[in-house]
Structures are given as structure tokens and as C-alpha cells.
Symmetry: C2
Subunit: 434 residues, 2 copies
């Protein structure tokens, strides 16, 4: 028997937008592709806040990675947590003690929340990265209304019905707007002892405006829209303390039942694994072809990579489209290398615009050549997000749920599946979900 | 100011089919109605096995009780666990230390699983009563396939891919059939190292046939249908041991990754609370008007009540329609008493038939005057269950998911939202969900 030469092995860590795009881009490549992720699903993060606020179910925005890649015969999916890389031995180490050898490695491990050095915040602030996080936030939100209904103490009721969202980027704005709608519309007739409309929703931001990365006109619209939803926006104020009962904001104590942290992200520790040069947010500096300097066989894409736009010289934002385009780009680079073709031109981000939604029927959209606000932007946001969902079933299910919510203000996913006590115990950051 | 006489207070414990029907039947009654339940949702239990097998999401079959009763002004919903009743003081005690006074009490607390005295089974067998239970079973099912994919030990792979369902009543038959379809169809192309079609699904039953309460012809059909799905049915065999690695069945040891207990139920401890006479399964004996002997102000309905059919003298089965009809009946009795009208005629169950489904396109239906099997019965089952879902949103969402699954064999809810280790640690009965 003639010995068959081993196919080159490409290991991709992370099944987010970047990693999945890289895998799909390698469809048909003459290589063994291994996708490692500690979760078994691809998550459509832009709609995660809707799971946290009981509008959607986890299955509406997450799809089993194996099911997505079923027909791509050159890929194996490995459910494991990568905890390190040994670039000299070309091995990825996993938490369950396995070593996965690679010829080429694509790091697409994304970002985690950053508390800007105040790691003690992690104990009491809730974050929104995984389905588990979203379900924890949902449990706690709904539980606060239930506990307030049962309480006879006005101060405690006020505390339980105070919801603070930290950080007024797109996620924070969307989260605060949706919580306001939950309290003012969806729940308004559901209680007998409290009036959910009396809930305080505070959105605080250290910077001077909401949606700081957007054009000023859109920020002003978003601020006004948040105001009309009854969100109390506090700009230019830093969070100093977060504890079990609330927080200190710009020197003022606020008693709050929920503190949701949407303020900053930090790349996962890939730069550290490689002892490579890192940007301030921990992401690893990459070459124009997304490879690591001095390690042409290792690539980093998405939030874990620090990549500058060749035209403007500015760092690319931590957005899904950047990760996706980088994933497909790296797949092209790898395919070219495997086939002995020349490397494609350096990566260039094609910016189709950004959008953020502020509750029912209101949004802002910045397409560069065209900016809009209000219903038109909301319609664009809804259509784009429906189309971006990864499979037809999710699209249909999200469409049904959105239509239902739009006409009735109802929320289908108002479910507590764990005891009240554990929802409140879990105020702080839940253990990382696998 | 003239003193306003206090309205009579009706406390209903349990928001299942019986309790919810009683509350709805009291719409417009001149009384203060309080519904106590430890979960915040009404659960459509007949489809719970589909959540456990990743076909549906929790929100598809559960609806927030408050939302269902929003427009019924005479009802307050209390999220609390009832732990006792003091009939002499007319008080319900809750786990969080509150006393809820009543003038009339309706016990609709349902049933829990019974291990027929072998309580040590509870540690390792999984049960299916709450959304939390269903999610635990789903996590463990999916995790077994993932662990098998990673294992290099053939014996361990065989153990992980052995699924034992104990009890061949409707739930056991539905569960075994659906797991077989999951392994043989939905997952068949998703793994690279194992063949999910090699999974063993064993359905064991102490009695002589499957669906023992159904006519023999339907049992035979169900047995054949299970066989064609590749379910290994073992009749007349008792479970002797259940431990962390499997079970002993009729003297034979079977190594198994999952043991799912669908074998028997035991009424929740209402009879014990009242020191009233209990049937063998713990349910409380009731008068023809569903009240407790000697306590005309206390009623018991559904699985917690032991009620005989006045015509046949046989005990009524523990089915949703019985509970629902009793709930509406007790509401009529209470309304009559409050209005000083004579008590309605004794409760009489109107049996519209029973059905059980065995996987895609196969079912059995017994309408008394008409029995059928196969596709026709499956169609009847699907339509009836869609219509019985409590709100339009759920109906639409279940319809979308079923249509999707029917055409593609796909399962939308294949999500692990907790780490693998905790899914396996939680082999046994999870803590009771609130």
C-alpha cells in the first residue's frame, strides 16, 4: 500500500462570526479543518439582548454548530475549551487535557467583558456575552418584578424596580430601551400591588454622549428616543462602586436591583498565549494578511485581533461584519497557500454601515452615504438582522416573535426556569458557560 | 363611610391545567381570587418531552401566568411555593414564610414522579415534570453524544450512546420514539468519529405491553412502530438498580449514559397537609362535587385528587382534560355557592379520547367510538395539540418548528447552555425548579 500523505491540518478556535466564516470559506479546501469551541452553537450576538429581555428564545438566535457544518465533509467540530497554544510545538491545549496539533491556526476567540481594572465589579454586575448570561439577566429582571410585587417595603420596591445599564454603546442603548418597554408596556397590566411603569431605567455613560461612535445627529436622536421611552440617561459619569444592592455613580449612591454591564470589552487572552504584541484592549496585533508577526502559520481575526484599516490607519471596530470578512479573507489566504498560489492582497474592510435600535419602531442607521433615524431605520434594522440570521428556521421563528411583539407588546419568553433564590444569588457574573 | 364587606377569598394552588381552568371559570365571580404557584408560567406538559429532545423551546410550550390572566381583574398571581395548609385557621403556608388566608381553597398541585419506594433511584434517574427537568434531560442527551465523539474507549462510547427510558406509558413511548429519531435522523451526519445511528434506545416496562391503558390493538401498533424506529422494547421487566453508570433490569446489567424515568407518579402531599384520606398514589379522596369529605370549603382537582367516575366506578385517569374539566366544574360550584344557588350536579368526566405519538407521522388515537393508528392519528394528534396550546403565539411558533422538523428532520433547540461537566454532574434529579 502506498502511503497517503497527511493533509495539512487547519485548527480554528471559536465558532463566532469570524471562526464560522473561516470554516465556511475553507469548504472544498484540501485540508483537515478542526473547529474548536467550548459552546456547541453559533450565537447571533447582535440579538442576544432580546433573549435577556424575554423577547426571544435561545433557539431563535443560536444554532448547533454541527448542524450548520453537517454537509462540509472536511470539518470536525470539537467541543472543548482552548486554554493555550504552544507555537513551537504547534499544539493547542484544551481544558480537558487534550493537545490538538495544527499546521495552521486561526484564532477567532473574540472578546470578554472588561471592567477596566475594577475586577471586583464582576461579582455583582451582570454581563451579556453567552446564552447563559442572557438567561441569567432574564431570570433576574423578571424576579425583581416578582419580588417587588411581594414586598411591603417601599424602599425595597424602589430598589428592585431600579435597573441600571452601564455603557451607552449600541448594546447598552438597546438593552436600556428594551427594559423600558418591558416595564412600561409588556408588563404594565400584569401586577396587582406594584405599577411596573414606575420602574426606573438608568443608562449611564462615562463619555459625553450616547452611541459615541456614531455621527452626532444620530446620537442626539437616540438620546431623545431614550428619553421618550422614560430612560434616565446620565452622561459623563463614571461608575465607582458596584455592590450587592446597587452602585455609586459620579459620587451618588443608587440602590438598584439590577446592574447590567455593557461598557467595555477585552480581547480573550490569545496575545498572551503567543507572547505576541497586544493592543491596549488585549487584542493581538496582526499583519495586513491577518497573520501574527513572525508566525505566518497563525492568524487572528475578529475581536481578538487588532487590525488597522490600510486607508485611514484607524483600528477596525469590534463588529460582526469585520470578523466575518476577516474569516472569509483568511480562508482565501490559506487556500492560496495550500495551492501554492500567491497571497491575496491585504485585508480591507468593506463597511456597509452600522445600526442600533432603541425599542419598538425606533432606530438609527449610518450607511456612510446615507443616515436615517426612526421607523425607516428600524425597518432597515429588522430586515437586515432577519436576513443575517444563519438559518431559515431561526429567521421564521424570530419573524413570528417580532410580529407578535410588535402588534401586542407581548413577550413570549417570560419564563423563570430556576428558583427565585438562585436567580438573585446569581446577581453577579455567572460562571463562564461552556 | 359605610364599611364595605370583604369579598370572599378563593385561593387556588397550582397553575397547571386544573388550577388555570378554575381561575378562568371564576372570571366575573364576585370574589378575590389568588393563584399561588412556585413557577411563573403555565406549562403545556403534554409537549414537554419535545423540549427535552431539542425539538421545541421552553417558550413554545410555556406562557407567563400573569400574562394569561392580565385581563381578569379579580385574580392576583402569587409566585410562591405552598408547603402546607392549616384547615382550622383557613391558612395556606408558603416556603417564604407567608400565611395566605382563604375562605375557599382549591388544591390543584398535581403529581410528582414516584419511584415506588425506591427513592435512591432519584439520585441517578432523570424525570420530566418541569421546564428545568426538560432542559436537564436535553443537556445530558446532547452531552452524551459530544462525549462519545471525544472518547477513544469503545465500551465508554457504547455506554454514552445507550439511552434507557423506564415506563411505556404515553410519555415513555413518546420519549423513546423521539430519542430514536434524534439519533437515527437528526444527528446522523453531524459527527465524524461516532455514528449516532448506532445509539441503543431501550424502553422498559414492568407490565406486559406498551401503552397499557390503551386498547390492545393500539398497543400492538405502537410496539411495531417503536420497533421500526429501532427502539429495543423490554416488557415485563422490573428495574432493580439505577446508579451513575446504568441500571439493572430484570437481573441484567445495562451500562447507560441516560436513564429517564417515565414510570409512575405520586400526588403531591395535599392529602397529608389536610390529614385527609388518601388513595394509594397519595391523591386525596374527594366527594362527587370535588370537595374534601368534611371540608366543604376545600376542593381538590386534577392529579392531586382521587375521583371516581359515577357511571363506571373506576378512578379517573391523571390526564389534562380531567383536570381542566374539574377546574371549570369547581368554578361553577363556587360561583353557585357565592350566589346562593344550589350546587350543580356531581362532576362527570366527558372523555373525548386519548392519543399518543410515536415519532414522526405515527401515532395512536382512541376516541372510544373510533380508533385509529398511523398518519391519520398523527395528524389528529398534531392538530389537537396545536389547538390546545394556550396562546396564539405558542401555536404559531410550535407550528413553525414542527413544519421545519417534519420536512428537514432538523431540531432547532440543540443548545448546551451550561458546561459539559455540570450537565453530567446533574445526571440525577435536578433540584425542584421554582
Amino acid at each position: 500500500m502506498a502511503s497517503v500523505p497527511r493533509k495539512p491540518r487547519i485548527v480554528i478556535i471559536g465558532s463566532g462570526f469570524g471562526g464560522l466564516a473561516a470554516v465556511k470559506g475553507l469548504k472544498g479546501a484540501d485540508a483537515e479543518v478542526i473547529l474548536i469551541d467550548r459552546s456547541n452553537h453559533h450565537l447571533f450576538q447582535p440579538l442576544l439582548y432580546q433573549v435577556a429581555t424575554a423577547a426571544l428564545s435561545p433557539a431563535d438566535i443560536a444554532t448547533a454548530t454541527r448542524a450548520l457544518l453537517r454537509r462540509q465533509g472536511n470539518v470536525s467540530v470539537v467541543l472543548a475549551e482552548a486554554i493555550g497554544v504552544d507555537p513551537s510545538r504547534r499544539i493547542v491545549q484544551t481544558a480537558d487535557g487534550r493537545d490538538v496539533a495544527y499546521d495552521y491556526l486561526v484564532l477567532a476567540t473574540g472578546a470578554a467583558y472588561s471592567f477596566f481594572g475594577k475586577d471586583e465589579f464582576a461579582e455583582h454586575a451582570q454581563v451579556l456575552k453567552s446564552l447563559g448570561d442572557a438567561l441569567s439577566i432574564r431570570h433576574r429582571l423578571l424576579t425583581c418584578f416578582e419580588l417587588a410585587e411581594q414586598s411591603a417595603d417601599p424602599a425595597e420596591i424602589e430598589r428592585l424596580l431600579t435597573f441600571v445599564v452601564v455603557g451607552a454603546g449600541p448594546t447598552g442603548v438597546e438593552m436600556a430601551g428594551t427594559i423600558a418597554e418591558l416595564a412600561r408596556s409588556s408588563l404594565k397590566s400584569d401586577f396587582r400591588h406594584i405599577d411596573p411603569r414606575s420602574a426606573r431605567i438608568i443608562l449611564c455613560e462615562a463619555g459625553p454622549r450616547v452611541l459615541g461612535a456614531y455621527p452626532e445627529r444620530l446620537s442626539s436622536y437616540a438620546l431623545a428616543a431614550l428619553g421618550s421611552l422614560g430612560v434616565d440617561v446620565r452622561l459623563g459619569q463614571m461608575v465607582e462602586v458596584i455592590d450587592a444592592d446597587g452602585l455609586v455613580l459620579g459620587g451618588t449612591r443608587i440602590e438598584a436591583g439590577n446592574v447590567i454591564w455593557c461598557a467595555g470589552t477585552q480581547a480573550r487572552p490569545a496575545a498572551h498565549w503567543l507572547a505576541a504584541e497586544a493592543a491596549r484592549n488585549g487584542s493581538v496585533m496582526v499583519e495586513p494578511d491577518c497573520s501574527i508577526p513572525g508566525r505566518p502559520e497563525i492568524f487572528a481575526i475578529g475581536d481578538v485581533a487588532s487590525c488597522r484599516d490600510p486607508a485611514s490607519g484607524k483600528p477596525l471596530p469590534g463588529l460582526a461584519p469585520v470578523a466575518k470578512q476577516q474569516g472569509y479573507y483568511v480562508a482565501r489566504v490559506l487556500s492560496a497557500r495550500l495551492a501554492g498560489r500567491p497571497t491575496p492582497a491585504p485585508f480591507r474592510y468593506r463597511d456597509f454601515g452600522t445600526m442600533a435600535v432603541i425599542g419598538r419602531s425606533r432606530a438609527v442607521a449610518d450607511f456612510g452615504w446615507f443616515r436615517c433615524t426612526g421607523f425607516l431605520a428600524w425597518l432597515a434594522w429588522s430586515l437586515v438582522h432577519l436576513m443575517l440570521l444563519v438559518d431559515f428556521r431561526s429567521r421564521l421563528s424570530v419573524y413570528v416573535n417580532w410580529s407578535w411583539a410588535w402588534f401586542t407588546y407581548g413577550r413570549g419568553a417570560r419564563l423563570l426556569t430556576m428558583p427565585v433564590a438562585s436567580a438573585m444569588r446569581g446577581q453577579g457574573r455567572p460562571p463562564e458557560k461552556g
